[in-house]
Symmetry: C2
């Protein structure tokens, strides 16, 4: 069993880096604070006897040697970057639970057959640099390195520049190596486990998600003398498209999601009808067929509304992450570990994307969830119970041991 207190203390120490007034964390990818968080993690891993490397994407790998160095390692990990108004647990918990597994095995003097590895994947959130999960995405072959390096934040700084600047641009190519298995433990970020009073989520997969930029282009004109009837006003299109997309999600309730996290306006002058609105659209569904149908409907809705109002419109596909089914053996390793430990549990699908989505393309993978308070995440008030975090790390320990000693 792992040491729940030490895990909690490490979580709180990490949370101090980028701590916000409202009790959350703002430690966005490739900022100075991200560097501080990485440095602390690397220090902890070296103290725990791991050998630490990082690759050209800044993904960090801390390896605890196994008895048989020829066996492919069993990997766990998640991310240390946060949302701008993020919490203390999203991602960080998965990284530090992995470290806690290593520390607990050290305490108990247990050696595994295969090596164990704890990974930190760069820019999982997609908040500073879109898309999400780009560190694991390049590593697993979904994105090119050049594409990743060229991604820009809102100030126009590139991923590549910022990675070099914080000193985490390694020389090792970001590409897959043979792995015996990969696990990731994470807070649920939704309300189901808490509502059903279950301690552990046994994940069978991840829902599909599409990101778009919808641009509506109208005709700027003066807020006073211009007649309402002849305006080509992007806001007149916006409200109808929002309405239709919320209705589309409701048609596919309870699983469909429609989210609008960001909007940009040009020229952005109070007494001028805007020329342009750019809306970030995020559509999700666990069933890839339904998500594809939603994608189709979205395009129809935008085209029809734009046409009605005389707007030009563009839909740019920013990111697509199809629905994922995890590896049956890894899922079974989690299921049997939960049973051994006697935790209440539920089989479920993740609503959020995780690095495991991309890792699952190149290695047998699965995930473990623990409840979080009121299902809140991407919120500074994000919270989780120490006992649940401990339980999740215990499941991780058991599952990793099963796969490392096979």
């Amino acid at each position: 069993r792992i040491n729940g207190q030490r895990l909690w203390d490490s979580l709180m120490e990490m949370a101090a880096i980028g701590a916000t007034d409202k009790g959350g964390c703002n430690r966005q990818a490739l900022t100075d604070l991200d560097k501080q968080g990485r440095d602390l993690f690397v220090q902890w891993c070296e103290d725990a006897g791991c050998s630490v490397t990082f690759d050209e994407m800044g993904n960090i790998f801390a390896q605890r040697a196994g008895k048989n160095p020829d066996l492919p390692p069993v990997l766990t990990g998640s991310h240390l970057d946060t949302q701008p108004t993020g919490g203390k647990f999203d991602g960080v918990y998965g990284v530090l639970a992995g470290l806690e597994v290593v520390r607990s095995l050290n305490d108990a003097g247990v050696e595994t057959e295969a090596p164990l590895e704890v990974a930190v994947w760069t820019n999982e959130e997609g908040a500073r640099f879109s898309p999400a999960m780009i560190g694991s995405g390049v590593w697993s072959g979904e994105f090119d390195l050049d594409y990743a390096y060229a991604r820009t934040d809102k100030e126009g700084k590139t991923f590549g520049e910022e990675l070099a600047r914080i000193g985490y641009q390694g020389k090792t190519p970001a590409k897959p190596r043979p792995l015996a298995a990969a696990f990731e433990v994470h807070i649920e970020q939704g309300p189901i486990l808490e509502a059903e009073e279950k301690t552990i989520g046994v994940l069978s997969g991840v829902q599909g998600m599409n990101w778009y930029d919808l641009t509506l282009i109208g005709q700027p004109c003066h807020a006073g003398p211009s007649l309402m009837e002849t305006r080509r006003d992007p806001f007149m299109g916006l409200h109808r498209i929002l309405d239709a997309l919320y209705k589309l999600a409701a048609e596919h309730a309870p699983w469909a999601r429609a989210t609008f996290g960001d909007i940009r306006v040009e020229p952005g002058s109070r007494n001028t009808v805007p020329e342009k609105l750019v809306l970030a659209v995020d559509l999700r569904h666990p069933d890839q067929n339904i998500l594809d149908a939603m994608d189709q409907r979205f395009r129809e809705i935008a085209a029809r509304v734009a046409d009605d109002i005389g707007l030009e419109h563009q839909i740019r596909d920013e990111w697509r992450s199809p629905a994922v089914a995890f590896d049956a053996n890894c899922v079974e390793a989690v299921r049997s570990s939960v049973a051994e430990l006697g935790y209440s549990n539920k089989e479920m699908v993740s609503g959020a994307g995780h690095d495991s989505v991309y890792i699952s393309r190149v290695a047998p993978t699965s995930m473990i969830f623990v409840p979080c308070e009121k299902g809140l995440s991407h919120n500074e008030a994000e919270n989780a119970e120490p006992e649940d975090l401990e339980a999740g790390a215990n499941v991780l320990l058991h599952a990793m041991l099963k796969m490392a000693n096979k």
Copy 2:
């Protein structure tokens, strides 16, 4: 009669300062380009024998002496600042038509009894620093100087700093002096004169306008796992409020206006339901009673929608400019000048705010409109016919002479 070619040439020379790719002008208030535009105007006025001063708000006054220096001057003027995607005529025409009146009188060797003045009012557009018409507003006592100096642009720079930086912060107090009359000639910025094939608009007043910041505050949460039904999503409120306000404007068609020129989102992350949206709302109506009723309905709509969705909301009154009726004698001076000159014309109310709104509080005031192409303004494609601009300046000349020689 004035010299239409010289007026046009001066307009084009001024338009080169801040010229945009699309044929418009971006010469926002208190920028380096605004300074260049002011410098050029001051040079032209000095060349025309005027004495030039500017006050603590950066309002510029170019005076052409009269025979009787004890008589209160007849003033004309408008503004040189533009929208970020503005045109070549909005404001600038009123300033340069005033200069053309002076030049034409010089050419003809005509002296007036009372002095004439051409004014440039600072930051009329309200695009860089809200509210609009703040230079004439302070001068006429609507706003305090401290309030004006503390206004910030989107980068947080203050009006006061920027005014000092460009060297147009004078020592003369910005406060009214006795004026015999004040006139302003402007492009209509709407489609009516063009549609009705009239050359001159004889203005009886200006419609009422209210600016607000509507803030909707929800609960940030994750775009994936968070259930749609329990979200407190500001965008869910936004689309309903937009819909209701467009319907409200339609109820009071054809004169009511509802415009949303700007929107801000926090935290602005693609996969996070926003915490906050701030929408710039501009409501207008020529009848102050109807505008007051619209104001009331706006508050009810926002409160009801916010309540339905569980959002907090705030409405901040950014600016109120009640409906204005111009001075009967000044309107009559314009009307009779138009008749003398034989131009087709229409009596109308301005849909846009103008410096004359504030000047009319402290001096007898009225305005003259000329058509603009397709009614387009606050748009780089803004355009007007040289003959119409010439006609408007002729009307201005006649009206000013009437009042200066009474």
